[in-house]
Symmetry: C2
Subunit: 366 residues, 2 copies
C-alpha cells in the first residue's frame, strides 16, 4: 500500500541500500545518482517508515517530558520551551501528565510507555529523596525541580534559596516588616517549598525581622484557588501583614484576588511578590512582581543535557547539576515601576554548573 524504499529503488534503478544512503545523507554518492533517487522520492511521495527505522536503529527520536499538569501555566510555558528546544535539534516531545500522583510518576520511570522514547525530562512532584533507586534505569533522564537530589541523572534546578532570600530582602528593603509567606509545606525537608521557605527565613534573619509563625501560610497545592483561600484565612484570622511572598505565581495571583476582594490595596497596603515569572504575572492587575528562575534556560539546558547523553557513547560522563541565573523582576505589586514602565530587574542571583558524585551503583545509560 504505502510507498517503500523498495519502490523508490526500483524507480531510480538503484539498490534499496542506496536509497537508504541518500535518505541518510551518506556522503559517497555520485551527484547524478543522488538526484535520480531524490527525483524518485519526489515522484512517489515517499516517506521513511519511522517504525522500521526505529526498530533497526534502536532510536525513536522522541523524548518524554513528564510534568504534573499542562493547565498550570508554569508547566505549559516550560513545555512550550522544551518542545521548541527539542524541535530545533530535530527531536519530538511526547508529554506525560502525572497529576503529581505517585503511581503515575513511578509509571513514567518504569511503565510500558517509556519504551517508545529515547530519554526523559522529568519534573517529579510526588516522588522524593527516598525514591532515587527508581531512577536507576537504562535510559537517560534529566530531572527538573527540587524534590530529588543525588539520583543517577543530570539535574537542572533553580537558585531557590538565594532567590527566595533575595525576594524577601527586597520586600524588607521597601520598608515592609510583616512579610507573610504563602505556600509552605510544613514538615517537608525537600522540595521547592522547603527551599524557598528556607530562603525566606534567611531573608528575615538578615533583615533583622522576627520570625512569626502566624505569617506562614500552608498550601499543599500551588493553585490560584488555594492561594486565594490561604490569603482569605490569614485575613480572617486578623493577622497583620504589609507584604506577601507567595511561593509561586499561581498562589500570588490567587492571593491578589483575595486581597482585592477585601478592598486591600496592592501595593499600597500590602506588597506582593510571586515566583516563576509566568506570562500572567505581567498582565495581572496590578502587574505582579516575581522571581524569574530562568525558565527558558532551564528548558534549553535540559534538552541539551539529555540529547548529549542520548548521543553519548563509551564511558558515562559524570552527572551534572545546572542552576541558571535567576532574577527578581519588580513590577507594580511591589511598587518597583513607575507608571508606563513594564518591569525592572531589582536583583540577580548567579547560577552555575556542578559535577555530582552519585552514591551507590549506577546504571550505565546504554
Amino acid at each position: 500500500m504505502a510507498v517503500t524504499m523498495h519502490d523508490v529503488a526500483q524507480r531510480a534503478g538503484v539498490s534499496i541500500k542506496t536509497v537508504s544512503n541518500v535518505v541518510n545523507g551518506y556522503p559517497y554518492i555520485r551527484a547524478a545518482t543522488r538526484e535520480r533517487v531524490q527525483a524518485a522520492i519526489e515522484d512517489l511521495d515517499y516517506r521513511v517508515n519511522m517504525s522500521a527505522r526505529n526498530l533497526r536503529t534502536r532510536r525513536t527520536g522522541l523524548i518524554t517530558l513528564a510534568v504534573p499538569e499542562l493547565s498550570l501555566p508554569y508547566f505549559a510555558e516550560l513545555a512550550d520551551s522544551v518542545i521548541s528546544a527539542a524541535d530545533d535539534a530535530g527531536w519530538t516531545v511526547l508529554i506525560e501528565q502525572t497529576s503529581a500522583s505517585r503511581e503515575r510518576e513511578t509509571d513514567v520511570l518504569s511503565g510500558r510507555r517509556r519504551h517508545l522514547t529515547d530519554g526523559l525530562i522529568f519534573s517529579p512532584l510526588a516522588l522524593g529523596p527516598d525514591d532515587i533507586a527508581l531512577f536507576t534505569v537504562d535510559f537517560p533522564i534529566v530531572i527538573l525541580g527540587e524534590r530529588v537530589f543525588g539520583a543517577p541523572a543530570d539535574h537542572v534546578t533553580m537558585n531557590n534559596v538565594a532567590a527566595a532570600k533575595a525576594a524577601t530582602l527586597h520586600l524588607s528593603s521597601l520598608g515592609r516588616r510583616r512579610i507573610a509567606l504563602i505556600g509552605a509545606h510544613e514538615g517537608e525537608q525537600v522540595g521547592s517549598a522547603a527551599l524557598r521557605t528556607t530562603g525566606y527565613l534567611e531573608g528575615l534573619a538578615e533583615a533583622g525581622l522576627p520570625h512569626d509563625p502566624a505569617l506562614i501560610g500552608e498550601a499543599g497545592l500551588w493553585h490560584r484557588s488555594t492561594g486565594a483561600e490561604v490569603m482569605r484565612r490569614m485575613l480572617d484570622d486578623g493577622v497583620e501583614i504589609d507584604a506577601v511572598f507567595a511561593l509561586n505565581d499561581a498562589l500570588a495571583l490567587g492571593a491578589l484576588h483575595a486581597l482585592h476582594a477585601r478592598g486591600i490595596d496592592v501595593p499600597g497596603d500590602v506588597a506582593l511578590i510571586g515566583f516563576d515569572d509566568v506570562d500572567d504575572a505581567k498582565y495581572a492587575v496590578p502587574a505582579l512582581s516575581s522571581v524569574d528562575p530562568g525558565r527558558a534556560q532551564i528548558a534549553r539546558t535540559a534538552v541539551e543535557l539529555l540529547l548529549e547523553r542520548i548521543g553519548a557513547t563509551g564511558d558515562p560522563a559524570p552527572f551534572r547539576k545546572v542552576v541558571p541565573d535567576s532574577r527578581i523582576v519588580g513590577r507594580e505589586s511591589t511598587g518597583d515601576v513607575v507608571p508606563g514602565q513594564d518591569s525592572r530587574v531589582v536583583g540577580v542571583q548567579q547560577g552555575g554548573t556542578e559535577l555530582v558524585q552519585v552514591v551507590g551503583e549506577v546504571a550505565d545509560s546504554r
Copy 2:
C-alpha cells in the same frame, strides 16, 4: 542486551508466539501456561519493544495534537484535556507547535514527522479554506477551530456566532450602549474573528444599537499584549465606551490591564467580557466574565472521533461536524455576581452534531 520475547519464551518453555498471545490477551491459553509466561515476564522485567510492534501492526498508539503555542492558556488547557482523554483510552499524545506559521502547519499535514502517529487533531491558524486540498491525506484528521470548513475530516468547532451574539446581547441587557469589540480581523471572511464579529454585529442589531466602526478594534494576534495595546489606543483616541467584548480571554485580560492603568473602573465604568473561559478568567481582578465554548467537551469529542476513525474498517463513514453547547459565564467584570459568588451562567447556546457532505474527491482513510 534488552530482554525480548524470545528470552521470555525460553524461560517459560513455550513458543515465542505464545508469549505474544499472552501479552496481547489472546483468550485460548491454559491458565497454567499463562501464569508461567507471566512469571517469566516478571522475572526478566520484560517490556514489549514498541518499535517492533509498531512496524508489524502498522499502528503506533500515538496521535498528534497540533496547536499554535502551548504558552497560550487556551491551548495549554486544551492540550491538558486532550492528553487526559487520550490517556484514558490508552493512547499517547505528541504535541506539535506551529506558531501559527503557514509552513509549519503545512508540515503537520505532509511533513515527515506525521509518519510516527496514527492520527491528527489539528487546530490550524494560518491555513484557510483555500487549503482544504492539503487535508486529503492517508490518515484520519480531526479539525478544531473555525478556519477550515468542508475539508475531508471530522470537525469539532464552537457555537461562535450564537455565543458572540449572546455575549453582546448580555452586555446590552446590562444597559450598555457603547459596546467595543477587540480582536477583529478586518477583511477576513473565515476564522473565529470573523464569526464572532458577525455574532457581535447581529447582537447589536437585535438590541437596536447602531454599528459604530470606531468601536471595532483590530488585533492580529490574540495575546494579552495586543489586547492592552488596542484598548490603550482606543482610549487615547477618545472613543466613548461603556462595555468591551474581547474575542478571547487573553485580549480581555490585556484590555483589563489597560483599563486599570487608566483608572477606569470595571465593571463600574466599563463592563468587560471575554471568550474561552480559561482558568485565568476566574482569578483576574475583577474576575472576568467569559464565554465557555465547551472546551472539555471539545477535547473529549475530538479524541473520540479520531480514535473511532483510526479503528474504523470498511467503507468510510460520513464526516461529522460537532458543536458542543456553549455558555455565557457571568462574573465580576460584568457585575453579574454578588460578592462571594463565584460565577453565574447567564445564557446557554445549544450545540449539536451534523453530517457533512464533502465536495470533491476524498481519500479513504487507510
